[in-house]
Amino acid sequence: MENKLRLQATGISIVFGGLRAVSDFSCDLFDGELVGLIGPNGAGKTTVFNMLSGIYTPTSGQITFWDKDDKACVINKKSPSQLNRLGIARTFQNIRLFGSLSVRDNVKIALHQSRNVNFFDVLFRTPRFRLDEKSMNEKAEQLLSLFKIDNKSNELAKNLPYGEQRKLEIVRALASNPRLLLLDEPAAGMNPQETEDLMNLIAFIRKEFKLTILLIEHDMRLVMGICEKIMVLDYGKTIAVGKPDEIKTNPLVIKAYLGQEAADA
């Protein structure tokens, strides 16, 4: 089976002032892969995400992405909204929802690109507008029900319990119909049961939506449990890449997390 590349980063680095936050990071993400990005705090994982999602521009190196039409483009200098339209969606380490808006509206905003109306339709609420709104409502409800939060569609996003807020962020990311999904610590603050549910959910959406998923996580059970490939970062550099079993026993990885003694043990 031919496995196409979805994203390729070659030697990307970023320098802030005097600090080299990420140095010479490379990765190949293939269609449908579920990859984990791990490393101690401050290793540069979110910085990598920020480069891949357009919030930062790498100071060197190149990122190539194959968009929704499978066309290759260099995305170094593109803005997050441009990347979203090309097919990259993400969630954030500290949840960023549109708090004063309803759950449904949070999702509908990501459906923005598929809208089919102009100003006239909007101002006069033409039938075309109503149809458009109806189809967006349906799509949003559909996605929300997959994650079992459709009963809360009318609630304000900021009133949701923490776990459901995280789910909502993922739903919103999915709503933009991405090809690559970046999840930044999706299990943060979840108990073991919730984490278990999340693992199943991620596996489900990968299959259902035919996505490539890259996730940052500290919860090793989740990472080892569902990721096919794991990349390990420390002090901005990649120190290991491989399958979960290889990573678990890699002395460099153990040293980075637990110190030299543990590696020697």
Partner: protein, 299 residues
């Protein structure tokens, strides 16, 4: 020779005006650097300083020692005002959405202006500021009016003092650290509230001195006198790079020169519009200002 000397004269005027803008701009830039707030009321602090100086000079008559006293009184009064405003109006809103703090800052400006208008012994009418008669300083073909020289020298002294404070003292280090990362600084044991209060105090002190100097050079005080210079000083701060102390100094001088030359050689009614124009150009071309640095947002 004549046009040349006029030009130099205008240049000196510009530098004199510019140094006052610089003094006020420093307050804007330091406060913005530390709490990310445009302190709209800052221009009116300058106005209060001018009035404080006015009353001192009126009480004791214009002479050099009284003038120095006036500046000190102005600085003390403004220092108290700056700290009080921060404590009463800005601190409660430190964690509120930025829009709310901005609205409060506007409100404080309005209160200061209108308070001065209604207080019976001040009132809305302009009063003339007692002037010192100083000899002019003659350098070659240029004759610098004594008061303008005083303004320049006074401002330079204050800016040097500020530079020493910010770069060579513990307080200054605390100020720089809080402006970089408020939460981290407090975790490091820095008393954030005190540092912010000190920043407001220093800014207000400079504005107070600036007010007295401004009123000596353009001898009139009225409650609205801080409005325009305040706006222009803010433009100067943006021009130099908001958050950057040397930037405020540079921006102030440039703006002062630009405005004076416009008044001298161009349509004078539009001299005020020049500052606005400079603002738009800078925002279009280099929004971080001449000496400013791009701040990276942590996501």
């Amino acid at each position: 020779m004549n046009t040349g000397s006029i030009f130099f004269q205008q240049l000196i005027n510009g530098i004199s005006l510019g140094s006052i803008y610089a003094l006020i701009a420093l307050g804007y830039t330091m406060v913005y650097g530390i709490v990310k707030l445009i302190n709209f009321a800052h221009g009116d602090i300058m106005m209060i300083g001018a009035y404080a100086g006015y009353f001192v000079l009126r009480a004791f008559g214009p002479s050099i020692p009284v003038f120095v006293l006036a500046i000190f009184v102005a600085m003390i009064v403004c220092c108290i005002m700056g700290i009080s405003i921060e404590r009463l109006a800005y601190r409660p809103l430190r964690n509120a959405p930025r829009l709310n703090s901005l609205i409060t800052a506007i409100a404080v400006e309005l209160i200061l202006q209108n308070l001065m208008r209604v207080i019976p012994f001040i009132g809305p009418d302009p009063r003339s500021f007692p002037t010192l008669s100083l000899p002019a300083i003659d350098i070659g073909f240029i004759s610098i009016p004594g008061i303008k020289a005083l303004v320049i020298i006074g401002s330079v002294l204050l800016m040097v003092a500020l530079n020493i404070l910010v770069n060579y003292t513990k307080t200054g280090k605390a100020m720089r650290s809080v402006s970089y990362d408020l939460q981290a600084s407090s975790l490091m044991g820095i008393n954030v509230n005190r540092t912010i209060a000190i920043t407001f105090a220093i800014g207000s002190i400079l504005a107070g001195a600036g007010g007295v100097l401004y009123a000596s050079a353009y001898p009139q005080v009225d409650p609205m006198m801080g409005y325009m210079p305040g706006l222009k000083a803010f433009v100067a701060a943006v021009l130099g790079g908001i958050g950057s102390i040397p930037g405020a100094m540079v921006g102030g001088i440039i703006l002062g020169i630009a405005e004076t030359l416009t008044k001298g050689y161009g349509p004078s009614q539009y001299a005020d519009a020049i500052s606005f124009g400079i603002l738009i150009v800078i925002l279009l071309v280099k929004p971080t200002g001449l000496l400013g640095k791009r701040r990276v947002v942590k996501v």
